[in-house]
Amino acid sequence: MSGQIRRLSDEELALAERFRGGDETVLREVYDRYGGLVHRVGLSCLSSHHEAEDVTQATFVAAWRGRESFDPGRGTLAGWLLGIARRQVVDRLRVIHRDHGIAAAVRQSGPGYSDEPVPERVVDRLVLLDELRQLTAEQRRVVELAFFDDLTHVQIAGVTGLPLGTVKSHLRRGLARLRTRWEVDGAARGFGSAGVDRAW
């Protein structure tokens, strides 16, 4: 699958190279670009605002210290950062589990517990969110109308004024890009897999 990695934009490649090279100023750029995405992991999986901030801090600290281990051939910088954040979250959940005990954790969470997402799924979503943001504006609009407004391709053509063929092509290509990105960077496969290579 590595042959199918989405071609990184020149900007992403340059950023990744400088990052690996140890240019300190680049960490701030990486943080500006992906800090929000990384922060989502903690916010979504942990109940405390402070813990989420700790995860974000620990992720960027670990990323910088381990920057030489980032391999652009295996996936994107965003995917790598999300993998680190996921492991940070899992470690914290384990500590919470140890501190409070299983029963207490379940009791406290009550009926809302079923809404607490597992970190891997959160990362998978965020990987796709990152990819969605990199579609062209037109392609993104078409794909989002199908995803979030549940419009058919015919309805999308009506709403956007685009030819039917163009809409279908945007849907197919957009979906293919998301799928490839998920396969490369998703928690079960990419950097996030921690060496565990299991098919879904």
Binding site: G35, L93, S114, L145, R179, A199, W200
Partner: protein, 300 residues
């Protein structure tokens, strides 16, 4: 017939009805594992992509986080290039995501042509109920659970499932082997809880499956495989259930009706001891559809 064209597969994965003259395509899909696998994978992608609706608002960590990073790493060059964005943080309070958080709900978005009110109408009014397999007429794309929107009446199975838990468990074989903590970085299929999954009363027959709890370096996972699941519009979701009222969604069944899904590390499987697979629709509702197709128990 050659394989279905990729435009068509993408539309199917998005949940669009097939055209009236698609009998040949339908017949092909029923026979062709390659195309079905492709659809499965695309559907999983669509499901995940749709879930990003939770993350639509912009989030930034507070600038203080950068200061701590910079200080921990002893960076010399640390001008706050992006500090002006700090203001954006306030609007997005930390929370557990889910349907109980209406403030960040779906469809609140300027670029869409339709709002949340219109969404149900569009889905309900314009999509004929023609699942891939016409015999499975129960799978409408449009049911908006919990909003009072009416659900199609063609459902053949599943609706009464919630009240039948006791009956469901009869005949289910469950074997608890052991649950040992992960120790040395290797996934251990040896430390496992096993459940055989079987049909649900009122659900489709001829279905079976197996669920194994595996302890991995990242915590417990549920390794699930099923067979005989009907080809349906929508997707199959895996849950663990306390046998009474509480359910936790653990993920979506993947290509070939298999999946390895992470379980929340804090989840007590002695409580959540029933594994359940349900048919879900792309309706934005994250609660259980009450359409179970497979179930089994992890005994303790």
């Amino acid at each position: 017939m050659q394989h279905a064209d990729s435009d068509q597969l993408a539309l199917i994965a998005l949940g669009e009805p097939l055209a009236d003259d698609a009998a040949e395509l339908t017949a092909h899909l029923e026979r062709c594992d390659v195309c079905r696998r492709e659809i499965d994978t695309l559907r999983q992608t669509v499901t995940l992509a749709r879930e990003t609706v939770e993350y639509r608002g912009e989030v930034r960590p507070p600038e203080a986080v950068w200061d701590r990073i910079s200080s921990e790493l002893g960076l010399t060059s640390a001008p706050g290039v992006g500090s002006s964005r700090d203001a954006e943080v306030s609007g997005d309070a930390p929370r557990l995501s889910g349907p109980d958080a209406p403030g960040d709900g779906p469809m609140v978005r300027g670029s869409a042509a339709t709002g949340s009110d219109a969404e149900g109408a569009v889905a309900d009014g314009t999509r004929p109920d023609d699942a891939l397999d016409p015999a499975m007429a129960g799978s409408t794309v449009s049911a908006l659970r919990g909003t009072g929107a009416h659900r199609a009446s063609g459902r053949r199975w599943g609706k009464a499932v919630a009240g039948l838990v006791a009956a469901v468990l009869i005949g289910v074989v469950g074997t608890l082997v052991a649950v040992r903590p992960w120790q040395d970085g290797v996934v251990r299929p040896v430390a496992a809880s096993v459940a055989s999954l079987g049909p649900v009363p009122g659900g489709p027959g001829g279905v079976s499956g197996r669920a194994v709890v595996v302890q991995g370096p990242d915590g417990p996972k549920l390794d699930i495989s099923a067979s005989g699941l009907p080809l349906q519009r929508g997707y199959y979701e895996v849950w663990v259930f306390d046998g009474k009222v509480k359910m936790v969604a653990v993920g979506v069944l993947g290509a070939n009706s298999k999946a390895v899904l992470a379980l929340p590390p804090t989840l007590d499987l002695r409580t959540y001891h029933v594994v359940d697979i349900s048919l879900e629709q792309y309706d934005g509702n994250q609660t259980h559809s009450e359409t179970s197709v497979l179930r089994g128990t992890l005994t303790s």
